[in-house]
């Protein structure tokens, strides 16, 4: 017993005798001091933290071979073996910065995504809603991105030198045949869908994957919300009408209905209109949606929508420049879409969708009645097999059938098309540093009695913690425009070949992108007339063949900064395009009249926290577009003045009782620029008439209120 006591005393004495002081400093590899770093002897309770200048000091009674652990947030932990024997020299620990969680490489050539599921994205869906240039329209927001351009008097999405018919709008994998409100000559129309329906969107300005075809230029892919979060009722009242909606959420399913009535009288009353809207647009619509989730996470969605509206506008007569013409329109549109997706065993993702739509335009061109009707059905089925975490294969097929009918005065035209496509694509990401995405799409057209094979490939590689490069190439086919098909012209597929390369850098709420591209067009449909008619609504009489061709090349630049100034977010988009084509009714290879070479968009947003107010401004500049001047020796050689627009928006968030309320206001063309979009000449070439947009400055105000059910069971 005595021996034991002795032993204890000796040990204690020895221990107190051999106290070791551990001191020194902690800094980063680049020499900056690290305050608040942790320094301790592993498996003991002896340790401390570095002070404001990175210095530390503590004593330990541990002895022998031990490990000192040094760690700090954002740095790689360091372990140092030491022998504790009473005295140690001072330490100077230098920690290596932890490389920011290396984000997986993503194929970005040609496409910009706004996705709420992914943290690192150039854009978020929210950015689209709150964009001053958008005025609440998805396509308006897309037009502030590089690669696009504004064509103020024409409807549709114009991308990198392509015309509106060369861009497709896709919802949940299904092509939307009438994505925009029906065309009124000279008046650009909005898209039919509100941004709030979508959880994500991907805009491809070229080089898109094999899931889609029939678009020579671009794809705008929209994905609808899955189950809405909560039971909500909301109402929207603005200068264009009133809309009501209700969502009921059950545990695993949800139902949603909306109804709207629109009447643009209040809007046109105070707007500065250049055209006489003798029958202001009025209309109404309703929609219903059902979504459900099964036990295994599969999601089913079904959506149906019907709209009616009518309008009467005094428009510049496209057939007789200089004179006006009444244009009446009555439109009926039905759109439906159902889809189901299910992941099985975490390995295979099945997706299938079905859509059907109908559109009818009863128009009055001056004295002539015209009726356009079209129908569409589409089915898609695909399976993606995730063979490993970094390798997957998708096999899919789609069938689309559509029909167009036109009755003009006493003449009647129509065509029917059924298309079948099969596609195979695989994605391989070795080490998450590289990505390869080859694919092939095979299409068959019943109308043409012909098929095509379109191989495409995209690659990406990480070049640093925050940057990557990506390239893409592929072949794209599209049928001739409906104006030719309606007249029974025998045509072949038109073809475009895309090559593009981009560099992207995203770090901490700042992003930069630059992309260069070259596209060649082959087999474009061409009208073999000897003379040029600049009327976009001309009737095609002469012969037509596929002898057209052309090219487009350019650079798109995008910069966004959400960080430098708190609550201030801005982005800058610049696009340069150089393109020439011999197609449609052009008699020589030339830059088409909808193309402007330089496009600049600056979008800014500022959130004033104390007032709960969002302010936004968008400035757009579009260089002059070619117009046809019969006196000019160069075909389409004259250029219109450049187009400028500054729009502002403001939204104020508040609550009135339990209602979440947003007041919003948008002023388009604040500075009232008198933009001239081009000129038309009289038949004798002696008189020149400017093409002007339907409105200069326009003000739009509204209020949105919503009530979300309060869950009583939470309390």
């Amino acid at each position: 017993m005595k021996i034991v006591f002795c032993f204890i005393i000796v040990v204690t004495a020895f221990a107190s005798y051999s106290q070791t002081r551990i001191s020194g400093s902690v800094s980063s590899k680049s020499g900056e001091v690290i305050p608040g770093a942790s320094i301790y002897i592993f498996n003991s309770l002896d340790g401390t933290s570095s002070d404001a200048v990175g210095k530390f000091s503590f004593t330990t009674e541990e002895t022998g071979e031990k490990t000192i652990v040094v760690s700090a947030i954002g740095f790689v932990k360091q372990e140092v073996a030491v022998t504790l024997n009473g005295s140690l020299p001072s330490f100077a620990f230098r920690l290596e910065e932890e490389t920011a969680q290396l984000n997986e490489v993503v194929i970005t050539a040609g496409s910009m995504e706004a996705n709420s599921d992914r943290e690192v994205a150039v854009l978020k869906p929210m950015d689209i809603y709150t964009n001053a240039g958008a005025a609440g329209d998805i396509v308006g927001a897309i037009q502030t991105l590089p690669g696009t351009q504004r064509v103020a008097e024409q409807t549709g999405l114009f991308v990198r030198g392509g015309d509106a018919s060369e861009s497709a709008v896709i919802i949940d994998g299904m092509t939307v045949q009438n994505a925009f409100f029906s065309n009124v000559p000279g008046v650009a129309q909005r898209s039919r869908f509100t941004p709030f329906q979508f959880k994500g969107m991907s805009f491809s300005s070229g080089g898109y994957g094999v899931r889609y075809g029939q678009a020579l230029s671009s794809i705008l892919e929209l994905n609808t919300m899955d189950l809405p979060e909560k039971t909500t009722v909301s109402a929207n009242l603005n200068m264009a009408g009133v809309a009501l909606s209700g969502i009921k959420r059950w545990k695993h399913s949800a139902g949603e209905i909306t109804a709207n009535y629109s009447n643009l009288s209040p809007f046109y009353k105070i707007a500065n209109t250049n055209f006489n809207f003798y029958d202001v647009p009025t209309g109404g619509g309703a929609s219903a949606k059902w979504s459900a989730q099964n036990e295994k996470g599969g999601i089913f969605k079904a959506f149906v929508k019907h709209d009616y509206y009518q309008s009467g506008t005094e428009i510049p007569d496209p057939y007789r420049p200089g004179s006006m013409m009444p244009f009446g329109l009555k439109n009926q549109n039905t759109y439906s879409n159902a889809s189901f997706r299910q992941l099985v065993n975490g390995k295979t993702l099945f997706y299938t969708a079905l859509s059907a739509s109908m559109n009818e335009d009863k128009t009055q061109w001056g004295a002539f009645p015209m009726v356009n009707k079209d129908w569409r059905m589409q089915w898609r089925g695909e399976a993606t097999q995730f063979l490993t975490e970094s390798f997957n294969v998708t096999l899919g097929s789609e069938v689309q059938r559509y029909q167009y009918k036109q009755d003009f005065d006493t003449a009647a035209y129509h065509f029917d098309e059924t298309q079948v496509a099969v596609y195979l694509e695989s994605e391989w990401k070795p080490g998450k540093q590289w990505a390869f995405k080859p694919g092939v799409r095979v299409e068959y057209s019943k109308l043409l009695q012909k098929g095509n094979i379109a191989p495409r490939i995209a690659l990406a590689a990480k070049t640093g913690s925050y940057s990557q490069v990506s390239v893409a190439s592929g072949i794209f086919y599209q049928l001739a425009d409906k104006r030719y098909l309606l007249r029974d012209y025998q045509t072949d597929f038109q073809q475009a070949v895309h090559y593009m390369a981009n560099y992207q850098w995203i770090n901490d709420s700042r992003s930069f992108r630059i992309e260069g591209y070259y596209k060649s067009y082959n087999q474009l449909v061409r009208e073999l007339n000897a003379t040029y008619n600049p009327n976009p609504y001309r009737v095609v009489y002469g012969a037509v063949d596929n002898s057209g061709n052309g090219y487009a090349q350019g650079v798109d630049v995008f910069w966004r900064d959400q960080k430098t100034i708190k609550n201030f977010d801005y982005w800058l988009a610049y696009s340069y395009v150089d393109t020439k084509r011999l197609y449609a009714n052009l008699i020589q290879k030339a830059t088409p009249d909808f193309v402007s070479n330089h496009n600049v968009n600056i979008t800014t947003k500022y959130f004033i926290e104390s007032l709960q107010m969002n302010l936004g401004a968008t400035y757009s500049f579009t260089s002059g577009r070619p117009y046809y001047n019969p006196l000019d020796n160069t075909f389409l050689g004259s250029r219109s003045p450049s187009y400028r627009n500054l729009s502002l928006n403001l939204s104020y968030l508040t609550s009135i009782g339990k209602w979440f309320t947003v007041f919003y206001a948008n002023v388009d063309n604040v500075l009232n620029y008198k933009n001239v979009l081009g000129y038309r000449y009289s038949a004798d070439g002696q008189s020149r008439y400017p093409i002007v947009p339907p409105l200069y400055r326009a003000v739009f105000v509204g209020v949105n209120i919503s009530l979300t059910s309060f869950k009583k069971d939470e309390l």
């Binding site: 608040g36 942790s38 340790g47 954002g74």
Partner: protein, 211 residues
Amino acid sequence: MKNKLLILSFLFLNIVAYAQTFEAVLKETYLKFEKTEAPQEKLSLVNRLDMIAARYSDQWSAHYYAAYAKVVTSYLLEDEKQRDGLIDQAEQALNKSKTLTKTNDEILVLEAYIANARLAVKPMSRYKKYGEIFDAKLAEATALNAANPRIYFLKGQSVFHTPRPFGGGCKNAMPFFEKAIPLFAKASNGDLSKPYWGQDRNQYYINECNE
């Protein structure tokens, strides 16, 4: 025989001593952590809790409190990357804790807290994803033990910091804080194996709202 007994009792005493030091050290550090306010001081106590968790790595509560302290401290830091880094560490610590104990309401509550901390770093771009996780974790915790006051405290805190137009603010948060009061009162404070944090801050918010 005598010797064996002696050794056994010595071993037993040793285990008791080990447990006592662990609990004492953890408690002392935890109480200091709750008392300090300056972010830098809190960080050094976070470091100390980390050290304790490394030393007593078989104790679920060691990792649990390291995770807890990290989450709480993350709200006090300025730099977004630092905040995310600390929350990452909190998540790792909680995951270790989860391997050492059965899933219980306290673990779920802390998981909800972590989701809320993530949200607080970038509310505009994260509210959707982390708001959903936060609600789901609290709902799970409620299903296991509806009498856990921290569920209502966290919910109240989240509502308190939500902009008023989105259903936030004092008026909407108060019912949650008030619901938590009697539940906090029922719990016996002092035993770290039954977490009891939150009462002071619950009261702090009530005072803020009553001003």
